[in-house]
C-alpha cells in the first residue's frame, strides 16, 4: 500500500511543493521494526513421519531404476578438466582402473537398434555411423538385417528375482524384517559415487560462462575422440568391465 501517484507529480506545476495537505492525516498502525533481524531465529524444525512400507518400496524401485540407467549406456559423467585434477586423489591407480565403474563422457549410442523415423534426419549419422548424410535412407530404415543390434535388456536380469524377493517381504509389511532385508540388500546396488562430482548446477553454468575455460573443455573432448584406435584404451577396455567393454571406440573414450 504505497503512495500511489498521490504525490501529485502528474498534475504538473499546480500542486508544486504542497503535497502535505490531504495526505498527512493518514496514520499507519503497522509499525515497522527497523532493527536488525536475528540471524538464526527460533524455528521449529518439522519432523518427517517415518516412511510407510509402500513408500519405501517406491523409493527402492526408484533407486533401482536410476541405478539401471546409471549402469546403462546413456549415463554420462563429465570428468574434471585437464590440469584441474587433484594430484593426490585423482591419480589413476591400478585398482581404480580395474574395479571402478567406467565413467562415460559421452553416451554410447551404437549398442542398440533405433526407430529411425522417430528421429530428425540430421541425427541419423550420429545414431548409426554407417549412415552418411548423402546415403540412402532405406538402407537404415529397412535395416541391414545381417548385423542387427540388440536392445540392452540384460541389466534387469539379476535384479528381477531380487525385486520379487523384496516384494514378498514388504507385502507382509513386517517393518523389521524389511529393515533387515534392506540392510542385507542395501549395498547391492544403488550407490552411485562419482569421486569428482562435487559441483552443483549453478557452478556448472558459471564454468561454462567462462570463455577461456571453455576452450579447454573443447580440447578435452577433441582429445578423447581423436583416434579411433587408441592402443591404451583398447587394452584398458579388455581389462576391466564385462558389460560395456567393447573395442569399437565408436563412442570415444568415456573415462579419464
Amino acid at each position: 500500500m504505497a503512495f500511489r501517484g498521490g504525490r501529485g507529480g502528474f498534475r504538473g506545476g499546480r500542486g508544486g511543493g504542497s503535497n502535505g495537505g490531504p495526505m498527512m492525516p493518514r496514520e499507519f498502525d503497522v509499525k515497522p521494526d527497523f532493527g536488525p533481524t536475528e540471524q538464526f531465529p527460533d524455528y521449529t524444525i518439522p519432523f518427517q513421519d517415518p516412511l510407510s512400507s509402500t513408500e519405501r518400496i517406491h523409493v527402492s524401485r526408484f533407486r533401482d531404476h536410476r541405478e539401471k540407467v546409471h549402469s546403462g549406456p546413456l549415463y554420462t559423467v563429465l570428468g574434471k578438466r585437464k590440469g584441474l585434477e587433484d594430484p593426490f586423489e585423482d591419480v589413476v591407480t591400478y585398482s581404480a582402473k580395474k574395479y571402478h565403474r567406467q565413467k562415460r563422457k559421452v553416451p554410447k549410442l551404437d549398442s542398440r537398434p533405433y526407430v529411425f523415423e522417430f528421429f530428425p534426419v540430421e541425427l541419423w549419422e550420429t545414431m548409426d555411423s554407417s549412415y552418411s548424410a548423402t546415403g540412402d535412407r532405406s538402407i537404415v530404415i529397412n535395416g541391414r538385417k545381417d548385423q542387427r543390434k540388440r536392445l540392452l535388456i540384460s541389466s534387469l536380469n539379476t535384479d528381477l528375482p531380487n525385486g520379487g524377493h523384496h516384494d514378498d517381504k514388504s507385502d507382509a509389511s513386517d517393518e523389521e524384517d524389511e529393515e533387515k532385508e534392506k540392510e542385507k540388500k542395501s549395498v547391492l546396488a544403488k550407490l552411485m559415487s562419482h569421486k569428482d562430482e562435487e559441483d552443483d548446477g549453478l557452478g556448472d553454468d558459471d564454468e561454462d560462462e567462462d570463455k577461456g575455460e571453455e576452450e579447454e573443455e573443447e580440447d578435452d573432448y577433441q582429445d578423447d575422440e581423436e583416434g579411433d584406435y587408441n592402443a591404451e584404451q583398447y587394452f584398458d577396455d579388455g581389462d576391466g568391465d564385462v558389460d560395456y567393454g567393447d573395442d569399437d571406440g565408436g563412442g570415444g573414450a568415456w573415462y579419464d
Binding site: 526408484f62 553416451p107 537398434p113 530428425p120 550420429t126 536380469n157 540392510e183
Partner: protein, 627 residues
C-alpha cells in the same frame, strides 16, 4: 514454466542421465525451442557430443523435435518436454504399480520400456529371449544363486510367447501405448502442419472467402487432432487377431461359454509397432490411489477396498490425456455395476463386520436376503433398483418374497449377500459429504455407480490447500482464506466482521497471505485522486495464481532435496566409491570395515528419507498440477 521447475528438471536429468544431458536440457529449457546450431553455441560442447546427447534425450522422449520442410533447407527444431522429465520421478512407482497388478515379469517389461524410452516390439522380444535364456538362474550380486522361479514364486520368462502375452495385457490396459510419429513432435507443430494441409485444400478462394472459411478450417483441424489421439483409444490398437486355423474351432466353442478372459488371448502384437510407457495412465492410477486413501480416512478400510475395486473397473477405460487443464480421462463417463465389483472383489475382505448397524436392521437385511426378489422379473427389479435402495423397503418386500423362490442354492445366496454388502459400502461412499460415488439411476442389477473424479480432485485440492495454509500460517489464516473463497472479494472491515475478529488481529495474517501469493488485492479508489486513504482494498482468492505459487514452492523444495542428496553423497564420496567397486559389490560384509558398513547404512537411510520426502511432495504436485 517457472524458474524453479526449470531448476528441478535440470537436476532430475542430471540425477538420472548424467551431466551432459542435463546441460543440453538446461539450455533448451532456458532458451526454449532451438536448432542444433543454437544449442551447440549456447551449451559450448562440441557438435558431435550434442548430437549424441540429443539422441539420448529424444529416445527417452525428453526432447521433442520437428523438422520444418522448407524447400531444400530443412531446419530441425528441438524443444524440451519438461513434463516428461518430471515423470522420471515416477519410475519407481510405475514399476511397483505394475508389479502389484500383473506380477514381476510384467513389471520387468515395464521397467525395460522405461529404460529404453521406446522400442520396437520385435526388437524387444528378441532381446528378451536372448538375454534371459543363458542365465535361467540369476546370481544375486551378494553371491547367492537364486533361481528366478524360487524367488518370485512364478516361472521366469522363458519364451517369446510369454513376453508378448505380458505386452498384450499391458497394451490392452493401456499401460503401454504405441508411439506414432506425431508423439515425437511438439503438438503445436503437428497442429500447424495439419492446418497448413487443410488450408491448402481450400486453395483458390479469395482472402475474403478465407476469412469465412476460417471457422470451418478450425473445426477440421480440431477434428483431425482428435483423430490422432483417437487411434490410441481403440482398445486393440496395434494388436491383430491371431490367425492360426487350428485354434479356430476351440476358440469358437469357448466363445459360446462367454468368458471374456478367453477372448483376450486371441490378440497378438503387431511386431512392427513401437511401444512406450503411457505416463498419463499412471497418473490416473495414482490419482485413484489418492482417492482411495481419502475414502479410507473418512469411512474405513473395508469401504475403501470396495472403492478401490470400483475405481479399478473404471480405470480400464481410462487412457488418460494430459491437457493444459489437467488429466482428462478418455471416453465417456462409464458406469460400473455392483455386480461387476462383486465378481472381482477379493473374498477376504470382511464386508459385514466393518459396518456397525443396529440389530433390527441387520435382521431385516438378513431376511431380505432370503426373499430373492432381486432375481425375479426384469421390470420389477429394474424399478426396485432405480429407487433409492433402503432396507425398510426390503422388509416390506419380505412377505412377497417369501412366496417366491425358496430354492436358491447356498452359493447364489452367498453371492447375493456379498452384493448387498458391497452395496451398503457403496451407499456409505455415496452418502459421504464428498460424494465419493454417485448412484446411477438405471436398469442395472443392484445399481450402477459413477465417480466424478474432476469434482473429487477439486475437493481434494481445496482440502490440501487449506491444510497447507493452516500448517504455515495458522488457524486464523485458514479461516480468512475460507471466508474469502466463500464470499468473493472483501475488504478488511467486512472480513473482520465475518471472521468475528478485530481488524487489527487479521491485518498481519492478510499481509502474510498476500505476500506468499495465497491472497490477492484489488484496489478500488473512492475518488479520482486515488489516495491510499480513500481506497478500498479488496482481498480475493485466485485459485490459479495460488496454485502457481504453491507449485513453485514445491518445485523449489524438490530441487533442494535433490541437491541435499548430492551434497550428502559428496560427503561420503570416498566410502561410496569404495562400496561401488566391482570387487566390493556383493561382498561388503567381508571387505568393508565395521565403521564403513555403519556409515553406508546410515547414508542409505538418509537418502531413503530424502527420497521419501521427494515422493511425498510429488504427490502434492500431481494433485495441484495433473489431476
Amino acid at each position: 514454466m517457472q524458474q524453479n521447475a526449470v531448476e528441478l528438471c535440470t537436476i532430475l536429468v542430471r540425477d538420472t542421465y548424467g551431466e551432459l544431458s542435463s546441460k543440453v536440457v538446461a539450455t533448451l529449457l532456458e532458451y526454449g525451442r532451438s536448432t542444433l546450431y543454437t544449442i551447440v553455441r549456447r551449451v559450448k560442447i562440441p557438435e558431435k557430443v550434442v548430437k549424441q546427447t540429443l539422441v539420448v534425450l529424444i529416445q527417452q522422449h525428453l526432447v521433442l523435435h520437428y523438422t520444418q520442410e522448407d524447400g531444400g533447407r530443412d531446419s530441425t527444431h528441438y524443444e524440451c518436454n519438461w513434463l516428461q522429465i518430471y515423470e522420471l520421478l515416477h519410475s519407481g512407482r510405475i514399476v511397483r504399480t505394475v508389479e502389484e497388478r500383473f506380477g514381476t515379469e510384467a513389471a520387468s517389461v515395464i521397467s525395460n520400456f522405461l529404460l529404453l524410452g521406446h522400442a520396437r516390439v520385435s526388437d524387444f522380444i528378441t532381446a528378451y529371449g536372448v538375454s534371459t535364456k543363458p542365465k535361467p538362474n540369476a546370481v544375486l550380486p551378494n553371491g547367492t544363486t537364486i533361481s528366478a522361479s524360487e524367488a518370485t514364486g512364478t516361472t521366469p520368462i522363458t519364451s517369446a510367447a510369454q513376453i508378448s502375452k505380458h505386452i498384450v495385457t499391458l497394451m490392452q490396459e493401456k499401460f503401454l501405448v504405441p508411439v506414432q510419429i506425431h508423439h515425437m513432435h511438439p503438438s503445436v507443430d503437428t497442429e500447424n502442419a495439419i492446418r497448413q494441409r487443410v488450408t491448402a485444400e481450400q486453395v483458390g478462394t479469395t482472402a475474403a472467402m478465407q476469412a469465412k472459411t476460417k471457422k470451418a478450417i478450425d473445426e477440421k483441424v480440431a477434428e483431425k487432432m482428435e483423430a490422432l489421439s483417437n487411434d490410441i483409444e481403440n482398445k486393440n490398437f496395434g494388436l491383430k487377431r491371431k490367425s492360426d486355423q487350428q485354434d479356430g474351432r476351440a476358440r469358437k466353442r469357448t466363445k459360446f461359454s462367454t468368458t471374456q478372459a478367453v477372448e483376450e488371448d486371441e490378440w497378438e502384437i503387431d511386431g512392427s509397432i513401437v511401444l512406450r510407457v503411457n505416463n498419463a495412465k499412471f497418473l490416473a492410477i495414482f490419482r485413484n490411489e489418492e482417492l482411495v486413501r481419502w475414502a479410507e480416512s473418512r469411512i474405513g478400510k473395508a469401504t475403501s477396498l470396495v472403492y478401490a475395486e470400483l475405481l479399478r473397473h473404471l480405470e480400464k477405460n481410462v487412457i488418460g490425456h494430459r491437457t493444459e487443464k489437467g488429466l482428462v480421462d478418455g471416453g465417456k463417463k462409464s458406469v460400473v455395476s455392483t455386480l461387476d465389483i462383486g465378481n472381482t472383489l477379493s473374498k477376504d475382505i470382511d464386508l459385514v463386520n466393518s459396518i456397525a448397524s443396529g440389530p433390527a436392521i441387520t435382521n431385516g437385511h438378513k431376511r431380505a436376503m432370503t426373499n430373492g426378489h432381486l432375481f425375479s422379473a426384469n421390470d420389477e427389479e429394474s424399478e426396485g433398483d432405480s429407487d433409492d435402495y433402503d432396507l425398510d423397503a426390503d422388509i416390506d418386500d419380505n412377505d412377497v418374497g417369501m412366496n417366491g423362490t425358496h430354492d436358491l442354492s447356498s452359493a447364489a445366496q452367498e453371492k447375493k449377500e456379498q452384493l448387498q454388502n458391497i452395496r451398503k459400502h457403496l451407499m456409505l461412499l455415496a452418502e459421504d459429504p464428498n460424494q465419493f460415488v454417485t448412484k446411477q439411476e438405471g436398469s442395472m442389477q443392484y445399481g450402477g455407480w459413477m465417480v466424478d473424479t474432476q469434482r473429487l480432485c477439486e475437493a481434494l485440492r481445496t482440502r490440501e490447500l487449506e491444510q497447507i495454509v493452516e500448517e504455515r500460517f495458522g488457524g486464523i489464516a485458514t479461516r480468512l482464506v475460507r471466508i474469502i473463497k466463500d464470499k468473493g472479494k472483501m475488504d478488511e472491515k467486512g472480513l473482520a466482521d465475518t471472521a468475528l475478529l478485530r481488524q487489527k488481529d487479521i491485518r498481519a495474517h492478510l499481509g502474510i497471505l498476500h505476500e506468499r501469493g495465497f491472497l490477492h488485492i484489488q484496489e478500488v479508489p473512492k475518488t479520482a485522486e486515488r489516495l491510499p486513504a480513500r481506497t478500498f482494498y479488496f482481498f480475493y482468492f485466485d485459485e490459479k495464481m495460488s496454485k502457481m505459487a504453491i507449485l513453485n514452492d514445491f518445485y523449489k523444495a524438490m530441487s533442494r532435496i535433490l541437491q541435499r542428496i548430492d551434497h550428502e553423497r559428496s560427503l561420503n564420496s570416498m566410502l561410496l566409491s569404495k562400496a561401488d567397486r566391482t570387487d566390493v559389490k556383493g561382498h561388503e560384509e567381508e571387505l568393508l570395515t565395521k565403521k564403513e558398513l555403519t556409515d553406508l547404512a546410515k547414508w542409505k537411510r538418509s537418502e531413503e528419507k530424502l527420497l521419501g520426502q521427494l515422493m511425498r511432495i510429488d504427490r502434492q504436485v500431481m494433485m495441484f498440477r495433473d489431476w
